[in-house]
């Protein structure tokens, strides 16, 4: 059951009716049942044990950890123990909690790694075996990759780490926790929700609020527009270019540009659909995008793009890595042997590389994603570590940094960096990436943009005009969103204008959307992660 299918809309309508017919107290149960149904329909029944196992293990372990802390507090409370004794008790409980935490992490991250990396490992083992014996004895066909495993594993792992770090207390009811893990709007492609936010949202009284429901539907419409009208239309061109033979460099440049907009409209479109769907039920999901193409630096870009993933890595990988004993030792040593700045540099580089290589591997296995991780680590390290030098150069060149042109330049520079990152993964292998770069540099053939070649990749000129118009609209709406809530602005307008906008949105999707026979509606790109 794809999010853009009629089946999903029917499912949503039925869930809506059942949900609001249930007494407020039991509405979460309706969400739980419909989420399980959605998970089975969107994936398979065989995926269900994996999510039950992961959430079961995490819930039990978090509960044990929580109980251990309660026991510890009980022991410390009111007793007239000395500081040393108190410290010893704390250490003892911390150790026990850590053991439970490690067990949970090994189990859940283990499942994630086995499902995600086995195929890749088997491919290499087979290559080695083939070189030695001439046959490939291993098969990884039996490996299942459960739907949304990266998303629910990260959500649940974040929860147990927070319990371990005492950011909040454990959830006493398993079914409530399971709903948090399997909640249908976020299970396939995120956002990677935090338990203290989504868990609490799901616990509050979910009452009927027509204004919020209308807002949710409007957000869904905007998401459908981005996905069906823009992303899937761009996908026709991008797939034709990247899946085909060699093309002129100018065509690759257009494909790179289209690819950047495609992935943005695809993923942010998905997020808008699911956030809107969730709002209909009164549950607010976290924001995942904040107009990343307006970012002026790469680190800022990643604070605006897939924000929940970036936030997760920052809180659970980057910060723990930065403040770890290991890093403190390295910092001390490098400060002594190098310089103050050298020490700082090393303490920036290592956590950044660890975080970004892991982020790359989260997106996919293989050399391309490793290269992708290294690419962003390098960019971020350069932008952070050499900031004083960049400032000096700017001063030396007497560039006025408070002008629109400078800000625009920075945005375009960041956008180009993003396109560079996409170039590592989109063409389908590093060899093809090199081929694309070679063609851009050596065989640009700019005339392909004007002699009609451009129209031979599945999009004729009316389609390209439509894309240009849609991207302009996207830009306009994004500018508005930077200043205020578009839905609130719309709400203030007269009914004729309001409805005209809504009907225009509905019929734009229905008419210009890429769906139905003749089109293979592209799967959401981020669903594969």
């Amino acid at each position: 059951m794809a999010i853009t299918s009629v089946h999903f809309l029917i499912f949503l309508c039925i869930t809506f009716c059942v949900f609001y017919c249930c007494p407020v107290k039991y509405r979460w149960v309706a969400l739980l049942v419909s989420s399980i149904y959605f998970y089975v329909m969107a994936g398979a029944v065989s995926f269900l044990p994996f999510i039950v196992l992961t959430s079961g293990v995490i819930w039990i372990c978090a509960r044990i950890i929580g109980r251990l802390y309660e026991e510890q507090d009980e022991k410390l409370k009111g007793s007239d123990l000395g500081r040393a004794e108190k410290k010893a008790i704390k250490e003892q409980y911390k150790k026990r909690a850590k053991r439970v935490l490690m067990l949970a992490l090994v189990c859940c991250v283990g499942i994630l790694c086995v499902t995600k990396f086995t195929r890749y490992a088997v491919r290499y083992l087979n290559l080695i075996a083939e070189a030695a014996n001439g046959s490939a004895p291993f098969s990884a066909e039996w490996i299942l990759v459960p739907l949304g495993i990266s998303y629910y594993t990260f959500s649940t792992v974040g929860y147990i780490l927070d319990v371990y770090w005492k950011r909040y207390t454990y959830e006493p009811e398993f079914l409530r926790f399971f709903l948090y893990a399997i909640y249908f709007p976020h299970i396939v492609q995120g956002p990677i929700s935090r338990y203290n936010l989504l868990g609490q949202e799901l616990k509050k009284e979910l009452r009927f609020d027509s204004r919020r429901i209308v807002f949710g539907m409007e957000l869904m419409l905007w998401g459908f527009f981005k996905k069906l009208v823009i992303a899937d239309r761009l996908n026709i061109f991008v797939s034709a270019v990247y899946n085909g033979e060699e093309h002129a460099g100018s065509i690759y440049l257009v494909a790179m540009l289209f690819d950047a907009f495609q992935i943005y409209t695809d993923f942010s479109g998905y997020t808008d659909i699911v956030r809107g769907a969730s709002q209909i039920f009164g549950v607010e999901l976290e924001q995942n995008f904040n107009h990343p193409f307006f970012a002026k630096t790469v680190p800022e870009y990643w604070r605006r793009w897939h924000m929940t993933l970036g936030g997760w890595f920052k809180d659970y990988v980057y910060y723990p890595c930065t403040i770890s004993h290991f890093m403190k030792r390295i910092n001390k040593r490098t400060k002594k042997t190098l310089s103050e700045r050298g020490g700082r540099f090393v303490t920036v580089v290592i956590p950044v590389f660890v975080t970004w290589v892991l982020t790359g591997l989260w997106h996919g296995t293989g050399k391309t994603y490793l290269a992708w991780g290294i690419y962003y680590s390098t960019l971020i390290t350069i932008s952070v570590a050499f900031q004083p030098e960049f400032e000096k150069v700017t001063k030396f060149l007497k560039i006025r940094t408070d002008t629109f042109s400078w800000q625009l330049f920075r945005m375009l520079r960041t956008f180009c960096c993003f396109m560079g990152g996409r170039l590592l993964t989109s063409p389908g292998g590093l060899r093809r990436t090199l081929m694309v770069i070679k063609n851009i540099l050596l065989h640009l053939q700019a005339w392909c943009l004007t002699d009609g070649t451009l129209f031979t990749y599945g999009l004729d000129w009316p389609q390209l005009v439509l894309i240009a118009g849609s991207v302009l609209l996207l830009w306009g709406v994004s500018m508005l969103q930077e200043r205020a809530s578009v839905r609130e602005l719309l709400e203030e307008q007269n009914i004729v204008f309001r409805w005209a906008v809504i009907f225009a949105a509905i019929f734009s999707i229905l008419i210009f959307g890429i769906y139905g026979l003749g089109y293979d509606a592209a799967a959401f790109i981020y669903a594969q992660y």
Binding site: V6, S210, D460, P462, Q463, W499, F503, I506, F507, L510, I511, F512, G513, I514, Y515, G516, L517, G518, Y519
Partner: protein, 343 residues
């Protein structure tokens, strides 16, 4: 509070209504159209427009069937000779279920005395190409038969939603819209006066004999829809006649099968396959293509034969002295035929 709720309900109803109006407007604009002026084959859209423009209950005879019908039967020619008003509804490779749906809708505005059903359709019990089905389906209103068809379709391509609302199938035509699409929405298409027939003087020599025989079995679905047609005709007091337009794409066993059904349902059966000589068909000049459709020369001969048959067996009034509309159309029609004759 109650006033607020009433207001919200009223708003909701208005919203749905406006949505419906816009939806059907765009559906009409975007759906594929088979218009006479730009069609190289059957112009089903024009055929239905012309049919609906006819005066109610003004038809004497209705001819139903496959492409053989609209190539082989020329109602205007029959009218010219006998004053009997007729109309032909055919579709390429039309299955019995779609033929039934054609009849069901056609009888909403007309109650002809006779319905001729070309039994070529008993050959087909497989899903036809999607476009061929849409040619018929898109012209028909939402009926229980259409719903039944939509939800029973075996085609991978045809989804129920596409059958019921061609909007979803044809939404991507927005970049191909032409003058006729807008004219169709405004009900401003040039009127046709060919009564569902297709005029062509293309010619191809053919061999006239049965195909090498096969074991033919009448399928339950075909039988069911033939029975439904019989029931419908009986209810309206219409004489149903089974006939087979003479084409060599026909098997002896199928001919026998058709005869059996006719006997079972007590319907007259005209097997014209054996009457080629009597009709006067020339295998060298009267056929159009390798599928053995008749051309205009053949159609005129067959229509003359059918006209004679009708006159011989049924007492239908000669409308030529009084039917102004048909007489005017006949003049225009003759000019059109004249234009099509190869010089």
């Amino acid at each position: 509070m109650q006033v607020m709720n009433k207001k919200k309900v009223l708003k909701g109803i208005c919203f749905v209504l406006i949505f419906g109006i816009l939806f059907f407007f765009f559906q009409k604009l975007l759906q594929a159209k088979w218009i006479a002026s730009d069609s190289e084959n059957s112009a089903s859209t024009s055929a239905w427009i012309e049919y609906r423009s006819l005066e109610e209950n003004s038809l004497d005879v209705l001819f139903l069937g496959t492409s053989h019908s609209y190539f082989g039967v020329d109602p205007m020619y029959i009218y010219d000779r006998t004053g009997i008003t007729g109309y032909v509804f055919g579709g390429p490779g039309l299955r019995m279920d779609l033929t039934y749906m054609n009849l069901e809708d056609a009888l909403k505005t007309q109650t002809p005395s006779i319905v001729f059903l070309d039994m070529s359709s008993i050959q087909f019990d497989f899903q036809q190409e999607e476009a061929k089905c849409h040619k018929v389906l898109d012209q028909l209103p939402m009926t229980s038969s259409k719903l039944e068809y939509a939800f029973n379709t075996e085609s991978e391509e045809m989804k129920p939603l596409d059958v019921l609302f061609p909007f979803f199938r044809y939404h991507s035509r927005w970049s191909d819209l032409g003058k006729n699409d807008f004219k169709y929405v405004l009900n401003d298409l040039d009127d046709t006066y060919i009564r569902g027939h297709y005029i062509t003087y293309q010619s191809k020599e053919t061999e006239f004999h049965f195909y090498e025989d096969v074991d033919y079995v009448l399928t339950e679905r075909n039988l069911d829809y033939i029975k439904r047609m019989k029931r419908l005709c009986d209810e309206k007091g219409i004489q149903l006649i089974f006939y087979k337009i003479p084409t060599p794409t026909w098997y002896e066993s199928q001919s026998e099968g058709a005869k059996e059904i006719a006997e079972m349902l007590d319907v007259p059966w005209l097997e014209l396959f054996y009457e080629v000589d009597e009709i006067g068909l020339d295998v060298k000049a009267d056929f159009r293509d390798k599928n053995n459709h008749l051309n205009q020369r053949g159609a005129e001969k067959l229509s003359a034969y059918l006209a004679e048959y009708i006159q011989e067996h049924y007492d239908l009034e000669d409308q030529r002295p009084t039917n102004k509309k048909w007489n005017e159309d006949l003049i225009r029609y003759k000019k059109l035929v004249e234009l099509k004759i190869p010089k």
